[in-house]
């Protein structure tokens, strides 16, 4: 993935200070999305062909991705291009602000691109139409085949400028692709861009694989595999495809996640029927036992500062969420509501824990503060679990299964996302049925 990154030569050529400019508060559900006009990028007529790509429509293709990204947030309302009043190249030089205001746009994105000597040069500008000002502008050079990422990076920059928060468009999601009847599922590791493009399958489906999770640099994945019918935690290098078993445990290891520095894996190990939480340092292979209890302790997740681990345990009789220091000391139960709680996942901001709740035959995805107060249930369904955070801590992706009939018919598993405001619930496009999603951090960071 690093290889993809060498290309960013960024030069900021204007970073206008804002005076009472448009901004979006993303801490609450936005019922009044900001109207934004995303002009197709102008394609320089000096552009050359490249590797069979349709360069002529590349400007439109890039703006379409930006548009889709913005619509998917629920915070923006990208306006129809038929209403646009200025040609892309002229608008990019200097928009006639009053004309764009006429179609009720509050922000405008313009840009141009040139493909020459095997390189794609792109620049874009974001305009505040009310203040008649440029808000931000950026240009960079890359290989033309990276054009989708260019669109995502532009989207992130605009999102950041308008919301004051980091974006999450130049990211990927790793998940388990599912096929076949419910009692004979074939499962493969799959990876895709956050918008569903560029799906790649990382395993062949010969053995059952579960719960993949990225490391902080998105180059490694830890997951569980039943290779040779031995359920164990594995480590996969996405670039080289090399896989290895994590540790030398004489039994099932499962529920792995990386520590925030990427140096350790925290997971459960089942010994004589009893599951406790362990860590293993990847370099030294030093294994530490973190919990010691006759109950089931599993689904561990580090806090982003690495000081704490949240997990679920049935030591009280039913599954509840606990938090402890990362050495296992100071175990504290944090969930006391009605129902049972599982899969705690610490927000990348450190302020919230996302979870699955089961109550009266319904499954909920929710968030709470890290001491268990302020519980908010975001979505209710027949079956859903395993939330994973967008890198800016604003959106959760999870999977949902449908109820099936007497022969298993009607069963499906899909990925969904929802804002932590509880708004903007939507299904993510996947080529196959899907479960166990894990969201990467920003790739270009």
């Amino acid at each position: 993935m690093k290889k993809l990154l060498y290309f960013f030569i960024l030069y900021l050529f204007l970073f206008g200070k804002s005076f009472a400019l448009i901004e979006i508060d993303i801490t609450r559900g936005n019922l009044d999305p900001l109207p934004i006009a995303i002009s197709p990028l102008h394609v320089d007529i000096k552009s050359q062909n490249y590797d069979g790509m349709k360069i002529k429509v590349l400007g439109e293709d890039i703006s379409k991705i930006i548009e889709d990204n913005f619509r998917s947030t629920g915070l923006f309302n990208p306006l129809k291009k038929e209403a646009f009043v200025q040609k892309p190249d002229i608008a990019h030089l200097k928009p006639r602000f009053e004309d764009w205001r006429l179609i009720k746009a509050q922000a405008l994105v313009t840009g141009k691109l040139l493909v020459k000597d095997g390189k794609l040069k792109v620049e874009f500008r974001l305009w505040d139409l009310a203040a008649a000002k440029e808000m931000t502008a950026l240009a960079f050079t890359t290989t033309p085949s990276n054009w989708r990422r260019v669109a995502h990076i532009i989207s992130d920059k605009i999102y950041e400028r308008l919301t004051g928060e980091e974006g999450y468009f130049d990211t990927r999601i790793i998940y388990v692709a599912e096929n076949g009847p419910k009692n004979q599922r074939v499962k493969k590791l799959a990876i895709m861009d956050q918008d569903g493009a560029n799906t790649k399958y990382l395993t062949l489906g010969n053995e059952l694989v579960l719960t993949p999770r990225f490391n902080p640099t998105n180059q490694m994945v830890t997951y569980m595999s039943y290779f040779r019918n031995m359920p164990r935690v594995y480590l996969l290098d996405i670039e080289t495809g090399t896989q290895e078993v994590v540790g030398n445990f004489p039994g099932m290891t499962f529920a792995p996640r990386f520590s925030p520095d990427g140096k350790k894996i925290v997971m459960s190990f089942a010994k004589d029927g009893n599951s406790d939480i362990y860590t293993m340092e990847l370099d030294s292979r030093v294994v530490e036992k973190i919990t010691e209890h006759s109950s089931i302790d599993t689904s561990p997740s580090f806090s982003p500062d690495g000081k704490y681990i949240a997990f679920n345990s049935d030591r009280s009789g039913l599954q509840q969420i606990y938090v402890m220091r990362s050495d296992g000391s100071g175990v504290k139960r944090i969930t006391f509501g009605n129902g049972i709680y599982g899969t705690p996942v610490w927000s990348p901001r450190g302020d919230l824990i996302a979870f699955t709740k089961m109550h009266k035959s319904k499954f909920y995805i929710g968030v709470m503060r890290t001491d268990g107060t302020g519980e908010r249930l975001l979505t209710e369904n027949y079956y859903q679990e395993a939330p994973s955070w967008s890198p800016n801590g604003r959106v959760l992706v999870f999977y949902r299964e449908t109820k099936s009939g007497s022969k298993g018919e009607g069963f499906s598993a899909k990925l969904w996302s929802i804002d932590i405001t509880g708004y903007n619930e939507k299904r993510l496009k996947t080529e196959t049925d899907a479960s166990d999603p894990s969201w990467s951090s920003l790739l270009s960071k």
């Binding site: 009847p181 419910k182 009692n183 599922r185 059952l208 579960l210 719960t211 019918n229 359920p231 099932m252 499962f254 529920a255 459960s268 089942a270 004589d272 029927g273 009893n274 599951s275 089931i296 599993t298 689904s299 679920n312 049935d314 039913l318 599954q319 599982g342 899969t343 699955t356 089961m358 035959s361 027949y382 079956y383 679990e385 395993a386 299964e401 109820k403 099936s404 009939g405 007497s406 022969k407 298993g408 069963f411 479960s435 166990d436």
Partner: protein, 158 residues
């Protein structure tokens, strides 16, 4: 009064019908005691009269009286067939989080293994594996299916 008497009779008939239909539905969805499966559908046999599986209550790994009887039969069979090794597969229903269910399946398989060991079967002859909720025997989303899926299954290895 007559009207009242008639009404009483009608009510009695309705009541009786309700009870009867309740019984028949219980039997239909049935073979469940508490929420532990007690039927024979899905059950296979290690040998004649030796069922291969036992069933569990929701979120539980404790063995019922019937489960212990089944496991004692398995123990007798394994004592007679000294060269036979087995794997006990532990399973859970679909109404729980995936990772917790892996742990639960492991605990159920070990409960069965421990019981066989108290009846003199060497632990070396019994391996365990948990499939969590990954391998339902009945793919339906119903209490009956879930009760059939909460199981441990003893499988011959050689």
């Amino acid at each position: 009064m007559i009207f009242n008497k008639n009404l009483k009779n009608v009510l009695l008939v309705i009541f009786a019908t309700l009870i009867l239909s309740a019984c028949s539905t219980a039997k239909k969805s049935g073979d469940i005691d508490g929420d532990v499966y007690t039927g024979t559908e899905t059950v296979k046999y290690l040998a004649s009269g030796v069922p291969d599986r036992v069933f569990f209550a929701t979120n539980k790994s404790s063995l019922t009286t019937a489960s212990r009887a089944t496991l004692r039969k398995q123990a007798t069979y394994l004592r007679k067939n000294k060269n036979l090794n087995v794997t006990i597969e532990g399973h859970a229903d679909e109404r729980g989080t995936r990772e917790y269910n892996l742990a639960l399946g492991e605990r159920r398989a070990n409960a069965a293994r421990d019981y066989l060991m108290t009846y003199g079967i060497s632990g070396k002859r019994i391996s365990v594996i948990s499939y969590g909720k990954e391998k339902p025997v009945n793919p339906a989303s119903s209490p009956l299916a879930w009760s059939q899926n909460r199981r441990s299954v003893t499988v011959k290895v050689n």
